[in-house]
Symmetry: C2
Amino acid sequence: MEDKSLKEHKKYAADIDSISKAQTLIKPYVHVTPILSSETLNIIAGKTLFFKCECFQKGGAFKFRGASNAIFSLNDEQATKGVVTHSSGNHAAALALAAKLRGIPAYIVIPNNAPKCKVENVKRYGGQIIWSEVNMQSREETANKVLHETGAVLVHPYNDGRIISGQGTLSLEFLDQVPQLDTLIVPISGGGLISGVAIGAKAINPAIRVVAAEPKGADDAAQSKAYGRIITLAQTNTIADGLRASLGDLTWPVVRDLVDDIITVEDKEIVEAMRYCYEILKVAVEPSGAIGLAAVLSDSFRQNPVLKDSQNIGIVLSGGNVDLGVLWQSLNS
Amino acid sequence: MEDKSLKEHKKYAADIDSISKAQTLIKPYVHVTPILSSETLNIIAGKTLFFKCECFQKGGAFKFRGASNAIFSLNDEQATKGVVTHSSGNHAAALALAAKLRGIPAYIVIPNNAPKCKVENVKRYGGQIIWSEVNMQSREETANKVLHETGAVLVHPYNDGRIISGQGTLSLEFLDQVPQLDTLIVPISGGGLISGVAIGAKAINPAIRVVAAEPKGADDAAQSKAYGRIITLAQTNTIADGLRASLGDLTWPVVRDLVDDIITVEDKEIVEAMRYCYEILKVAVEPSGAIGLAAVLSDSFRQNPVLKDSQNIGIVLSGGNVDLGVLWQSLNS
């Protein structure tokens, strides 16, 4: 006789148990990031907003949660050969930092258009950089080559249960800090963060709404939800360099089942939200980090028949790794 | 017979009792601001640094502590006529906000070279703006005129016991969050913040070092310490618009007796520290807010025979109200 609860348990690549275990495992290494609020932004939004400042996480982004869970759950034999990944930046820096803390090598395949400050972060944390072309095929092939040469363990930026569980720890922490949250807004790219957050948050409060924020110029997740299958885009066009990836086969089922809605926003809305973050919240976010605020302030959110009733909204400011020069150009373009 | 303890008690315009009372009075209104730390900045400084993020305080600066103490300690009769002040910006916005919370008028005399964003803050909080010339004489005369016309209570930006006590609450909060601090670095302008902090911190831990950070182009406090009397400068020249005031007769005795040292820094060191705040800490600070980090990284701090032994250093990031345009110019000049 099949055990239904066990089957339920194994439905996704992560569950509340794997997320709780991750929280215990990574606790010595991660920051509990603070929550900020602003009466001015509450008035502008017409909602009560709580900002989870993952830009203050080690490595400057939430990515360190998943990376440290992946690194510290390796057994000793696996660990000695190190890890390899391909990433536009924040996952790369996070993995390098976590590997450094465990004292093992990290081989990082980086596309040659990655923001300079993200590359600098990888170097600062002692990651060994291998350059690739921008397209995903080149990134994966280069990573595979390193994999075979070194015997290192591949840690995918998002399509990996250890990563999803690690990112999910954010939701446990957030709901512990602000139990009254009725809605969470989370940036979506490959879906690692929002998958972990949706699984974790809905295990604690099944009624909570989990909403993705996505750039219109990289709206593969919104299209995937609409068509009921993974859609990948031939090309993307957005200032949010961290939000250009496509869903994976481990994140898609969670996005399909547990993400209540996806709000897409224009780049100019992202830039306006960035300005609010800098000038009102006093937090230095990257474009991907500001998209949650952009979504809450968008017409599609305000007019959404369900979301317009949301009152206590948690917004994940996912990261703060930005070149100030690029920031300035975007604010004045 | 004279009561010596009472005499001691009345030595300065504030003491640990008035600061503790202020803390209780303003608790419903102020944010407990978070502490941030960065391994990267610790390595750069060769010290363990703890950043007290007062830029996340209501109104974007520590000034709201003193302002709310001043406003909420008025009796009802005083309160109805409102308050008046002259300020380069952060105190003005803070006073306007606190007055708004109590529902009383705030008349704000602002010099006509104040940063736009600080003026906007005053307007946003419902302050009634009266413009003056830049020099202190015009500011004071204009304030006196309003005072006589309205019967409002003058709340000086720093030379006021209520303000000093309110700012002092920062030190109680900081030492509660990070008890192991051996040194505090505090920006100095008129001396309201550092007076309150020095009195509060040394009441809790008499061995703690309290160090002021001051721009070389507005080094009146350093000169005052050197000459043993209040020195005022005919003119100042610094990017740190919040640090151009001179000591008052209530703050000078505290600075003279309880501030262990004053570190002066060049504007270019302030700009470099701002860049670190944005790019590494991910905190949007104004120039005055970044000066504490600039001081810790300066040669005069590193080579100071006493301070070089400091290990756990608390840095007050005092405010974050900056025009992004001005910021950009300063980072690229």
